[in-house]
Amino acid sequence: MAMRRNRDEETEANLLPVMNIMLLLIPALLLAMEVARMGAIDVSPPRFDNSGPASDEPHVRAQQLRVFVAEDGFVLTTTDAADEPKRIALDDDRKDLLDPSRYDYAALEDAAIQMRAADYDPIVHVDAEGSIPMSTLVATLDALRGSRCHLGRLGPGEEPPPECLFWSVIVEPGSGHG
């Protein structure tokens, strides 16, 4: 009898305030959450292709760009080193080396547009001085790829559109600057 009385006296937990708090907390946490969308820049190491030409026909290969990121600006050359190196000076040399905005990316992108218009390959060989920070390297690759290029919107097997300039990157340390 005593047991039955105890069972009758059991009260249900009042979940209403808990649910109220939960419903407020979930949107608050969602809003407070810092969402950093991660992306990737695909790069390739230097390739050493020792296999000869597949056929007797002369292998016609487009000119390729080399970019060297120095502490005092960019140096642009070509893979056959036929032309004089093109130098792009710093945008603001008073800024610290760790500040990527010290470089003139607009001038670099302009040069990239001109070179692509001159039928250069979309492959770019990138090298830098050992002290160059990764943020500068990434900003350089952004400028070389083109500010209007959106590779993330491409479907599988789709070719990048013309607004994508030098989108295929080969990191080639030790290649120097011409």
């Binding site: 830098a128 943020s135 790829r145």
Partner: protein, 179 residues
């Protein structure tokens, strides 16, 4: 100074109040089902959002991943975290950096980072075996999660070491910049 209409209104209110006092208060019943439905939807959405990325990138403490306009999504690969303090792989601090942000010379043989190479080679062997078991080709992809101040020389050493451990594809992890 109240008007007749106002007095009538007050009287009606008082009458209503009197009437309510006599009635038993109604107990509100909470519809838990709809609330649980909403919470289930939110939790499922969040889990799906987190689970959709093939690789979960969690930068190490104090590490700032560089900003970029690149919008290419991260593909499946093995992440290596390189901060100004240490190189971290598989949640282990593999190599410490010195005050200048360079790799500890004791861990370096030329460009090869010995302790990192050992772990990467082991990882490559495991991944190759798994791919063979699945009948797929091993991609050998490394995701370099570098600090924004990471020096190019260190980056080259890490890439060289990964290359020696037979990793063939590299991606720099970046934080997508708006616009």
């Amino acid at each position: 100074m109240t008007t007749e209409a106002e007095q009538a209104f007050i009287a009606r209110k008082a009458a209503k109040r009197e009437g309510r006092r006599g009635m038993q208060e109604e107990k509100a019943i909470l519809g838990m089902t709809s609330l649980m439905d909403a919470i289930t939807i939110i939790v499922t959405y969040l889990l799906k959002n987190y689970g959709s990325d093939p690789v979960v990138i969690a930068p190490t403490q104090g590490q700032k991943v560089p900003l970029s306009k690149a919008d290419t999504p991260i593909q499946d690969g093995v992440p290596i975290y390189v901060s100004e303090r240490a190189i971290t792989f598989a949640e282990k601090r593999v190599v410490q950096m010195d005050e200048t942000g360079q790799i500890d010379p004791a861990a370096l043989q030329g460009h090869l980072i010995g302790p990192l190479y050992d772990l990467l080679a082991e990882e490559a062997d495991k991944a190759k075996q798994m791919s063979e078991g699945k009948g797929e080709e091993w991609e050998g992809r490394i995701i370099l999660v570098g600090d924004q101040n990471l020096k190019f020389s260190v980056l080259v050493d890490v890439m060289y070491t990964a290359g020696r451990a037979e990793f063939r594809e590299y991606a720099f992890c970046v934080v997508q910049q708006n616009g």
